[in-house]
């Protein structure tokens, strides 16, 4: 059966013509991946229009999982869709071999923080110039809602009746490992995502952006504590549009400012999570150190 042709506005047509392909995507209704793809292509478009970067220099690298499908096959540009957890390692080879490339890794919390956690901290330590966008949907979405290293303590997943482990704080982890640009947002903050991706793409060093995202298919099941406070009408709406309800939960309270950006915080289960730009510093990159060896 052929998909009906969507009726597109001028803006949608512009992005589809220049930056997107192979649509419609395979993401669940209400998934945060579409928001992140949208934010990415808008950031890229603004930088290309301002002649800050060139379209052909952008390389999207991803591993395995839902987040890996953001660039591949949807971004119109060079993409490298690799093995589970190894996107940063593949990206390291491509970036070092051709330092002109603007390398953007799309990874998830399972892909980037569990199986690929070692590559993540070592890339941060080396300060290799690349942008890592880690989509944290708090669980393994593609395989069906299993526990991840970011899953909140004591929630029910498809592999634990009560998830028995404390989650990583990924921005703390990557910052401690030596990343020179670190930020965290949720999918609610689209404009912040665009501004942060723009900044990260121009940052001379390792830039890490965690985006906490809604998984309406699986994480909605275990993040049930706000369901119990809902009226039966609201609960019915939650069941029908879990993505929209989760997105509301990803809107935070403003707490102050830091590094020229406002800070927010959201409550995730019983833990407060801070949002904002946490680190922006300049230190020599791996490429600079390697080229110094040429003498």
């Amino acid at each position: 059966m052929k998909e009906p042709e969507p009726r597109l506005g001028k803006t949608q047509q512009y992005y589809r013509e220049n930056y997107l392909r192979n649509l419609p995507n395979a993401f669940c209704a209400g998934c945060g991946n579409g928001i992140i793809l949208n934010g990415f292509v808008r950031a890229v478009d603004e930088l290309i229009s301002a002649k800050e970067i060139q379209h052909q220099d952008i390389l999207g690298v991803s591993g395995i999982g839902c987040s890996a499908w953001i660039p591949s096959p949807h971004f119109q540009g060079d993409t490298l869709h690799t093995t589970h957890g190894r996107a940063i390692a593949f990206a390291t080879g491509a970036k070092v071999m051709n330092p002109k490339l603007r390398v953007v890794v799309f990874t998830g919390d399972g892909d980037g923080a569990a199986i690929g956690g070692n590559h993540l901290i070592h890339a941060a330590r080396r300060n290799i110039p690349m942008t890592v966008i880690l989509v944290n949907n708090l669980n393994y979405g593609m395989t069906g809602g299993q526990s991840a290293p970011t899953t909140p303590l004591h929630v029910q997943t498809s592999t634990y009746p009560q998830h028995p482990e404390a989650p990583f704080d990924l921005t703390e982890l990557v910052s401690g490992a030596g990343a020179s640009y670190v930020a965290r947002w949720t999918t609610f903050y689209v404009k912040k995502i665009i501004a942060t991706i723009k900044e990260a793409l121009l940052h001379p060093g390792f830039a890490f952006i965690e985006i906490i995202s809604q998984c309406p298919t699986y994480a909605a099941r275990f993040l049930t504590e706000f369901q119990s406070t809902l009226s039966s009408d609201e609960r019915e709406q939650f069941k029908r549009h879990p993505g929209a309800w989760m997105l509301k939960a990803l809107k935070g309270k403003k707490t102050g400012e830091g590094l020229g950006q406002p800070r927010y915080e959201i409550a995730l289960k019983d833990k407060m999570i801070e949002l904002g730009v946490f680190k922006r510093e300049r230190r020599p990159t791996l490429i600079e150190h390697l080229q110094a060896l040429w003498g």
Partner: protein
């Protein structure tokens, strides 16, 4: 190193061969007996404005050379058994995405940590079947320091020509021993370099199922994926596309086998004319095997010799032609019997015996000769 005569170890010869072939990128993780390859690459690559990276593990090393290859560079890694195991998943990725890279395995005696650093030939079936799925390896087996140099160049040439990963399955013995090495002049060896994919090529949007290798940054908007894909790179699991991909990989491997034979890189022989008894070996164990054959010849026994230069694709038809009238084949290898099963399958008309050794040391020629004599074959 300049053209002319040198006295170096096998690992250094391997690294010099890589530089000679135009290698620009090396990623690796320390492991013996691959150490001298890695250390010489670390020394040499910056001198030719190339990049050497020591990464966090062998998984990352294999991944990085694939990334570097798609970024346009000739890339290589070197390791030993435990690292070779860790590289298998991404090696499979390189087969499916038709990525030219070179992997050198200086085999040591396993399984597991085993006799760490002592030589073995126990990874040859891992080279053939190690990663999951149907794979199509090209694996060279050098027996001397000179061949460490020569076969590393050929590994790069075959990787570029057939757009595939290639393996140099050496071992701790050949990797660490010192021998004379003659480095040829540039003009004496042909080097295959990558042709840039441009609009003049047919179907420029089709990046797979073709010999030309595109690269990132050229505006091709490449979709490279380890999932089943169409020739354009779009992920597609329908049977006809994946079948076409796998059949193409097998056809390329068959073509590579023909080219290897044509260039005399599949095997070599000695004293084969009328021999009814033949000793077959490869790599380090071929050295005492050849010595045993020479001793037998001196003693008046008609014993022939076959040495495999390439393990995979196995030169099956060439072997069959050569051994038509041979009655007994002794396969000398530093494992409990791996290649012997392949030879028994190909030369099914002959009695095929195994001369195994798993001590972490090379056979003594007398051990081989004794087994031939005891069997009453000569």
């Amino acid at each position: 190193m300049k053209a002319g005569l040198h006295f170096v170890d096998g690992g250094t010869a391997c690294a010099e061969g890589a530089i000679f072939a135009g290698c620009q990128f090396f990623a690796g993780y320390p492991i013996t007996p691959a150490t001298s390859i890695v250390e010489w690459m670390a020394e040499r690559l910056p001198q030719v404005k190339g990049y050497y990276l020591q990464l966090e593990d062998e998984i990352a090393s294999m991944a990085a050379i694939i990334g570097a290859s798609w970024a346009g560079g000739k890339a290589m890694t070197a390791t030993s058994g435990p690292g070779f195991s860790l590289m298998q998943e991404n090696l499979g990725y390189a087969y499916l995405t038709e990525t030219p890279v070179v992997l050198v395995d200086a085999q040591r005696s396993g399984p597991s940590t085993g006799q760490a650093t002592m030589p073995g030939q126990q990874d040859i079936m891992q080279a053939r079947f190690g990663t999951h799925g149907d794979i199509t390896p090209i694996a060279f087996s050098p027996w001397s320091v000179q061949e460490m140099f020569d076969f590393t160049i050929q590994a790069f040439n075959y990787a570029e020509r057939f757009r595939t990963p290639t393996l140099v399955m050496t071992d701790g013995e050949v990797s660490y021993m010192r021998e004379p090495l003659t480095i040829p002049k540039r003009s004496e060896v042909s080097i295959i370099n990558r042709e840039r994919l441009t609009k003049k090529h047919s179907n420029p949007e089709e990046i797979f199922l073709r010999y030309e290798m595109p690269k990132f940054g050229d505006g091709h908007k490449l979709l490279v994926t380890g999932s089943a894909h169409r020739p354009t790179g779009v992920r597609d699991y329908t049977p006809r596309f994946h079948r076409a991909t796998i059949e193409w990989l097998f056809e390329k491997n068959r073509q590579a086998g023909l080219a290897l034979r044509e260039e005399g890189l599949d095997l070599e022989t000695a004293h084969l004319e009328s021999a009814k008894t033949v000793v077959l070996s490869f790599g380090a164990s071929a050295r005492p095997a050849y010595q045993a054959v020479q001793t037998a010849q001196k003693q008046g026994h008609d014993v022939g010799f076959i040495r495999l230069k390439t393990l995979w694709p196995l030169p099956e038809s060439h072997l069959l032609e050569l051994t038509k009238s041979v009655q007994r084949i002794f396969v000398v290898e530093m494992n409990m019997g791996m290649m012997v099963n392949e030879i028994a399958r190909v030369a099914c008309h002959a009695e095929v015996h195994c001369v195994p050794k798993v001590a972490g040391e090379v056979h003594h020629s007398n051990e081989i000769l004794d087994q031939i004599m005891e069997s009453g074959a000569a």
